[in-house]
């Protein structure tokens, strides 16, 4: 079983509410789900959709083929009717759309009318639509009732009741009228959880002891901000909306200097404003985690869409030379763990750590039976209380063999904690001399870098052991690459996926260069126009891919579109 349900409509019509509730019902019922939204940079009107993949095995990407299209407006039909599968159905409300479609694949359910008849508001029409989809799928309403109750728990009982009635009404109408509905669900398995990339990064931060989060709203990073803000009271986190992104990063650095774990995030335009602060973190050796949720650029670009155009920007951002780590999780699960690792390494090495995501990862929801949170690395690397107080003497930037200097907390003991954006001596005071400069560059950069590199895990290999075709990717393309490799199994294919990107992984733990060299064809798949990862690969290892498949229209790869492109390439060579 592998169905795709697409809900289309204008911004403000409730596409995402229907999507969220359906997804929750499916996962609660034990099915696997992958969903991704497609929305415009406007608040009302336009054309948005959300696509849910519902299956009895793990699914990690979207498909081009739609089984049930919930059309909240006419545009949804115009744009997506052609995507219907052979048995695919459109469910819509002819009265609301002002048009009755007399085709067998169209199921007319009077969403609005039913809602109003039941004494509900127009908005409750969406509950009817939800019920209708469940009816079409032949799913019973037990779990749906539970989910709806849960979602509305803050509402009045009569609102809850009305919604419960409406879901039944939609269900009944579809069951009764959709003779052509050939969908069949196997029994669901264990209940699943559903988590989106932004939630995962936020969760990773909270679980890593992030105590200070300052940011300025910017799509698609705002979801991290609001997740953390939602946990602020419970977990004792100060969240502050800064006046701009420059303030956001400088506040976070101030808080980190003060002794607490801090984070900020933005998308490309806001990150651009943080670049000077990033360099300040480098010079003052102040730990910080920075989320960069990419979207298509340059400049404002396509604010609500996806791209992977900023890998090298993230890598080289900041004036002067200093170490950093860059992680680009491919799944929400990786997002939790790599955000945690970012916090850990940021503090251990006193460096900035970047978590690079994009709108596709940020907004896509994945289902899991559970997530392993036991392996989180939570170590406090700061000198605190007694330990700090009892030191004979203290130099914030002491020259050490490892390059790591003791990280004290100002005010926490009799020792002064001094740091400076100018080149400084061990105590943190301004210097001009060449010798100290050399020593500090060695300490801050050259000694730390190899140590940090040992922390980096190799890329993930999935598929054949001795592949003839290797698909290479990084970040958010993990899910689609994985599914495409499965489809290509006849071709003896594998995926090589990089999520710990900088310091670039060595080949000691996994000789990925041997894997690549052993293959007949290597293809690097990226969501940008210039092949940023391919360029980094070449500069780091000298290796050049046989081909690059690049997409830069702001839309994610789907399983079909990517495997189509790969087939075409392989057929051509």
């Amino acid at each position: 079983m592998d169905y795709t349900i697409k809900i289309g409509g204008e911004a403000g019509q409730g596409v995402d509410t229907i999507g969220a509730i359906l997804s929750k019902i499916f996962t609660r019922a034990g099915y696997h789900v992958f969903s991704h939204p497609d929305y415009e940079s406007r608040v009302r009107g336009g054309h948005n959709f959300l696509q849910i993949r519902l299956a009895d095995r793990p699914v990690t990407a979207s498909r081009d083929i739609v089984d049930i299209l919930v059309a909240l407006d006419r545009q949804s039909i115009i744009a997506h009717e052609k995507e219907l599968s052979a048995d695919g159905m459109v469910v819509y409300d002819s009265a609301a759309l002002g048009e009755k479609v007399e085709k067998p694949a169209f199921l007319d359910v009077p969403f609005t009318d039913m809602a109003i008849k039941q004494g509900g508001s127009k908005i409750m029409a969406n509950t009817v639509a939800t019920g209708a989809v469940l009816g079409m799928l032949g799913m019973d309403l037990g779990i749906a009732r539970e989910v709806i109750r849960g979602e509305l728990k803050k509402k009045d009982e009569h609102v809850i009741k009305a919604n419960l009635d409406l879901v039944v009404a939609g269900h009944e109408s579809a069951t009764r009228n959709c003779s052509r509905c050939a969908f069949a669900l196997p029994p669901g398995g264990q209940r699943k959880l559903l988590i989106a990339g932004n939630e995962a990064i936020g969760l990773g931060a909270v679980l890593s002891g992030c105590k200070f989060y300052s940011a300025y709203p910017m799509t698609p990073s705002t979801g991290i901000f609001s997740f953390v803000a939602g946990k602020a009271l419970e977990y004792g986190i100060v969240v502050e909306q800064a006046e701009d992104e420059i303030a956001a990063i400088n506040m976070a650095l101030g808080a980190s200097f003060g002794g607490v774990r801090s984070m900020t995030a933005s998308s490309g335009g806001g990150f651009a404003l943080m670049v000077e602060g990033l360099s300040l973190a480098g010079m003052t050796e102040t730990p910080i985690v920075i989320g960069l949720a990419q979207r298509p650029g340059p400049a404002t670009g396509l604010p609500t869409r996806t791209e992977q155009g900023e890998l090298l920007f993230a890598l080289y951002a900041g004036h002067g030379e200093f170490p950093r780590v860059i992680f680009a999780p491919g799944t929400p699960e990786q997002a939790i763990h790599l955000t945690n690792k970012a916090f850990d390494l940021a503090e251990k090495y006193q460096i900035p750590a970047l978590v690079l995501s994009d709108q596709y990862l940020a907004d896509s929801s994945w289902s899991y039976e559970t997530l392993n949170l036991e392996e989180l690395r939570n170590t406090d690397y700061r000198l605190r209380g007694e330990t700090f107080r009892n030191l004979q003497s203290y130099k914030r930037h002491a020259l050490t063999a490892s390059g790591i200097s003791p990280l004290g907390i100002p005010g926490d003991g009799p020792h002064l904690v001094v740091t400076d954006s100018d080149e400084h001596d061990e105590e943190g005071h301004i210097v001009e001399d060449a010798e100290m400069r050399r020593a500090m560059v060695q300490k801050r950069l050259l000694k730390k870098m190899p140590l940090i590199k040992t922390e980096i895990e190799p890329p993930t290999v999935y598929g054949s052991d001795k592949p003839e075709v290797v698909l290479v990717g990084w970040g958010s393309t993990y899910g689609v690459l994985k599914e495409v490799v499965e489809r290509l199994s006849a071709r003896n294919a594998a995926m090589l996926h990089f999520s710990e990107i900088y310091p670039f992984p060595g080949t000691q733990k996994l000789d990925y260069l041997a894997l690549l060299r052993g293959a007949k064809r290597t293809i690097c798949v990226e969501q940008n126009a210039m092949g940023k990862f391919a360029s980094l690969m070449r500069s780091e290892t000298g290796y050049t891919f046989d081909a690059n498949i690049l997409k830069y229209d702001g839309r994610p790869f789907t399983v079909e579109s990517l495997s189509g492109e790969i087939d075409a390439y392989l057929a051509g060579v």
Partner: protein, 283 residues
């Protein structure tokens, strides 16, 4: 009781005769009188001659970027609001590059004290006009003379309802020291603008220039009247008022943040939350 020596930092790289020495002296005396040991407070500073200040005064120090000390200080104070945090900036630093942060620091009203070394010039970069430079100031980057109206920080601060607004002058160290104490003791965001002649690059706003014009506000002056304060703050010409020009009792930001009610963030435990149950909301 601490001694002045305890606050002796590195040897200043300022020019002989620079007004910055007076600020240092007044500040060191202030610390002695307030009985704050060097490790008990932190100075956040920017870049410029003023920005070097904390290197010359023993203390915890975050000497950050040009124009960005206020956000750093805000983050630091929210991490540890039990610790006094002082900000030392130049006029270019704070009123030029950092203008947006100044506006928002006043709106937030975090309990910080901001000291601006106002020499009406960019000192460290060798003499360009700053926001407080008089109109017409010619420099290597102002070939037509500064064409913008000079920035009056006192007027702005009153307009922003800044919690404490004062001006001092290094020509009167005792008065300056008293202002410093008041500014630090004030609960809320305090701005103390300090006239500090740049003997090398500012040939107009000299010790003499200030001496001729500056006068302390009369003892009957009521700094709680915002409109009167506005009127007084506008005075900048033949006569320039020194002293506390405006003061209010707005609630302090950190007192409004629920999670800071019990203790400073940096003292809160556990450092890392327990994970059980954390996933439940996602099912």
């Amino acid at each position: 009781m601490h001694t002045l020596q305890e606050y002796e930092g590195r040897t200043p790289a300022w020019c002989p005769g620079c007004g910055n020495f007076g600020i240092r002296k007044a500040f060191q005396q202030t610390m002695v009188e307030l009985d704050l040991a060097p490790h008990q407070f932190t100075i956040v500073s920017g870049i410029g001659q003023a920005g070097k200040f904390p290197h010359y005064v023993r203390c915890n120090t975050f000497n950050g970027l040009h124009g960005r000390s206020l956000p750093v200080a805000t983050g630091l104070k929210l991490a540890n609001h039990a610790m006094p945090v002082f900000v030392f900036c130049g006029d270019g630093d704070c009123y030029g590059e950092g203008g947006n942060h100044l506006l928002n620091a006043m709106r937030r009203n975090v309990n910080l004290t901001l000291f601006v070394h106002d020499n009406q010039i960019y000192g460290l970069t060798k003499g360009q006009a700053s926001p407080t430079s008089l109109e017409g100031t010619v420099s290597n980057t102002q070939p037509f003379g500064a064409l913008s109206q000079p920035f009056n920080p006192m007027v702005l601060a009153v307009a922003m309802d800044c919690s404490f607004v004062a001006r001092g002058y290094v020509g009167d160290i005792d008065h300056l020291k008293e202002l410093m104490k008041e500014a630090i003791n004030h609960q809320g965001f305090s701005l103390l603008d300090i006239f500090q002649p740049c003997v090398t690059f500012n040939k107009v706003n000299t010790y003499d220039w200030y001496k001729k014009r500056c006068y302390p506000v009369e003892s009957t002056y009521d700094p709680s009247d915002r409109v009167e304060a506005f009127r007084r703050a506008m005075e900048f010409g033949e006569r320039i008022p020194l002293g506390v020009l405006y003061r209010n009792q707005r609630p302090v930001f950190e007192e409004k943040v629920p999670v800071l009610r019990e203790k400073p963030l940096v003292r809160q435990e556990p450092l890392f939350p327990r994970v059980d149950g954390m996933l439940e909301e996602f099912y």
